[in-house]
């Protein structure tokens, strides 16, 4: 043991002379003081105001932000890309052109002149000087041609540099976001549409139905379960998908209402119960599973349990989170009744509402 301690001491003693405390202090200064300016900060309160957001229109942009680092700034780089992330590849927004842009006014940190390096690239430059304005600096550029694509936003990647030509290490950085809108309707190449049909039986693609919108379930009995089924088909090319809700009341005769379970429940003959689901069941035998090749349009979990039924008005019974080709759903209805159920003709109207998603 003592032998090891002697060896360690001899080793450490040698390094003590090779790396004196002064060298260590210099290393710490380099790390914490010299290296500090390279840890760039984000511009604060960044914003973009497009004086017109019409696609393809020539307009003025006001870019504003607050400088954060107390460093001399000689240039500000402005790169127009689809993606705001600085280290990602820059794809120029379709139709955008800043080649003829003019810096018409500036406030806050001033003294810049403008140079358009490319149709999507502007550099503001001045003699390097310390940031003197604590507030927001704004720069107005005229003669910018707006992008054409209303379907996606674009961004301006901002960077400040000590150099006058936007080279060398960056001081502050950040992006501002913009989007063109045509003021009337935002539409993709194919107008989004939502197709929907409901009946006792519907054809594929909703090209027709059996034109029967009523089902007679028969006579209520405490010994057996009455069943019925209807169909609905739905599809959309909207990228947000669709949702179908069920609306209406439980079966009722005047003020006598048959209860409907608020959670998926098995059929219980002899109890008052009205429920639905959207899958094939064998207790009792009714319904069938959804038909269609696309798997993204599905019944919601509560309405997709075989032999379990539920009915809550306003519930979403089926949905797709994105584009879905036509899919056919079969809705199964069950009714059970107690022996002491008040006599009457029990009926209801189920309204299925298909909507787009936002």
């Amino acid at each position: 043991m003592r032998h090891w301690l002697f060896r360690y001491h001899a080793h450490a003693h040698m390094w003590r002379h090779m790396l004196p405390y002064e060298a260590l202090a210099i290393f710490v200064i380099i790390v914490f003081v010299v290296a500090m300016p390279t840890s760039a900060l984000r511009f604060a309160e960044r914003g973009l105001f497009m004086h017109s957001s019409e696609p393809g229109e020539t307009t003025s942009y006001t870019v504003s932000f607050r400088y954060m680092s107390p460093e001399p700034v000689g240039s500000v780089d402005m790169l127009f890309c689809i993606d705001p992330i600085p280290h990602h590849e820059c794809v120029t927004p379709l139709g955008l052109d800043v080649s003829d842009a003019v810096l018409s006014s500036q406030s806050g940190e001033t003294g810049f002149v403008m140079d358009a390096l490319a149709p999507n690239h502007i550099v503001l430059s001045r003699a390097p000087s310390m940031i003197s304005s604590a507030g927001i600096s704004s720069y107005v550029f005229d003669n910018i041609v707006n992008p054409l694509d209303t379907g996606q936003s674009f961004s301006i990647r901002l960077r400040s540099h000590a150099s006058t030509d936007a080279s060398g290490p960056q001081i502050d950085f950040g992006s501002v976001k913009g989007q063109v809108t045509d003021g009337v309707v935002l539409e993709t190449q194919v107008p989004p549409m939502l197709i929907f049909c409901v009946a006792e039986q519907v054809m594929d693609q909703c090209l027709g139905t059996n034109e029967n919108y009523y089902t007679d379930m028969g006579e209520l009995s405490s010994d057996s379960t009455l069943t019925a089924q209807s169909q609905m088909a739905v599809g959309t090319n909207a990228s947000s998908g669709f949702a179908i809700t069920v609306n209406g009341g439980s079966m009722a005769a005047g003020t006598s209402v048959i209860d409907s379970p608020s959670t998926p429940t098995e059929s219980q003959p002899g109890e008052n119960q009205f429920g639905i689901n959207l899958v094939a069941n064998n207790a009792p035998t009714v319904g069938s599973d959804p038909e269609g090749t696309w798997t993204n349009a599905i019944p919601t979990p509560d309405y997709s349990m075989a032999n379990h039924y539920k009915f809550v008005p306003g519930d979403v019974v089926a949905y797709s989170p994105n584009v879905s080709l036509m899919k056919k759903f079969t809705v199964s209805y069950i009714v059970n009744s107690r022996e002491d159920l008040k006599p009457g003709v029990y009926s209801t109207t189920m309204t299925f509402i298909a909507s787009g998603r936002f």
Binding site: V185, I195, N237, M251, Y319
Partner: protein, 350 residues
């Protein structure tokens, strides 16, 4: 007199019998197959109006489609994009209601296999405050007529969003970020930290505390423990909105596959999540989001998350390797012990 009475009675009986014998006119065949625009979006300056068209198609090739139209308010159902419609006639008007500013026709009849284009308009008075306004146009088929217990009716909905430009209060707060399992028919959607199946989606949940809708853009960078990165360059490809007050979950595919499909005669692009070929192990994710409307500050949200992907086959391999290592260590220990006990015995002999 008796004969007259008899005659009247017989005549009445004939009339009544005739009335019952003649079959009731059957209800005209009615379509319930409609095609509508699911969403409309506008940017309208105060004092301006927008005239637009609503195109409704009747896909049924044998019956006309009669619809009644009305405008209702809506909000969100959950953290997804499903609207919750306020269908009651006495539903209170929401603060973001577009109802007072929208004009649509009351009814329309679309011939079989045909379409109708309706005029609609949205107009804001001068001086109207900046912000987001939204309501829904509900197209309803008439209530069924017939005899039975269960009647069926179909309705379609167009969501209408209007933006009045100006200074607004935008405030999104990140609530969750991480790997995400999409809902299936038997399972709710949700975040997870460890998965036996290959993760295909990353998600983030934003709470909209502002007074306008928001649609963030940005990217997510995934990195595995060996340094390999996977870039999700568009974290909101559908431009999905977080409604006022909503906690909205946005999901993004780690790898997206696009395919062109034919939808009702038109070509359209459909995106699906596919396997990105992730290796088992630990993953870190960096989120970088931007939001902000025209003329308002662009705001940024940055966050980090992590998750484990540990498939069964990988766990079995790790288990087998650990067993092997344990066995090797045990054998070495045994060998060392045997050797030491052998040398002790030798020393004792000496």
């Amino acid at each position: 007199m008796k004969r007259l009475k008899s005659f009247i009675l017989i005549a009445l009986a004939v009339v009544v019998a005739g009335a019952y014998a003649v079959p009731a006119p059957s209800a005209a065949a009615q379509s319930s197959s409609l095609s509508i625009a699911p969403k409309k979006e506008y940017v309208i300056e105060p004092g301006d109006s927008v005239d637009d068209k609503l195109t409704i198609r009747n896909l049924d090739n044998s019956a006309d489609l009669t619809l009644s139209l009305r405008v209702v308010d809506f909000t969100f159902t959950d953290d997804g994009g499903t609207p919750k419609l306020f269908l009651e006639d006495d539903a209170p008007q929401t603060t973001w209601s577009l109802k007072p500013f929208v004009t649509v026709p009351k009814t329309v009849t679309v011939p079989k296999s045909g379409s109708k284009t309706l005029d609609m308009s949205v107009a804001f008075p001068a001086g109207h405050g900046a912000g987001s306004y939204y309501s829904a146009i509900v197209y309803s088929t008439s209530a069924p007529d017939g005899a039975g217990n269960v009647g069926l009716a179909a309705s379609g909905v167009t969501l209408v969003f209007a933006q009045v430009p100006g200074k607004v209060n935008e405030n999104l707060k990140l609530e969750k970020f991480g790997a995400y399992q999409q809902a299936t028919a038997n399972k709710e959607a949700g975040y997870f930290f460890m998965s036996l199946l290959e993760p295909q989606r990353v998600a983030y949940t934003l709470k909209n505390n502002g007074n306008v809708t928001a649609a963030p853009v940005g990217s997510i960078t995934l990195k595995n423990m060996f340094g390999k990165t996977y870039e999700i360059s568009n974290v909101n490809p559908s431009g999905s909105l977080a409604l006022i007050g909503q906690s909205r979950t946005y999901t993004a595919c780690i790898k997206l596959a696009s395919q062109n499909i034919n939808f009702s005669g038109d070509r359209t692009s459909a995106n699906t999540c596919v396997s990105a070929g992730l290796w088992p192990g630990y993953y870190s994710a960096d989120l970088n989001l931007f939001y902000g409307q025209n003329g308002n500050p662009t705001q940024e949200i940055i966050s980090k998350a992590s998750f484990w992907y540990l498939p069964w086959w990988f766990l079995i391999i790790v288990f087998v390797v650990l067993l092997l290592l344990a066995y090797i260590v045990w054998r070495i220990t045994q060998a060392v012990r045997n050797r030491s006990s052998g040398s002790i015995k030798l020393k004792k002999r000496k």
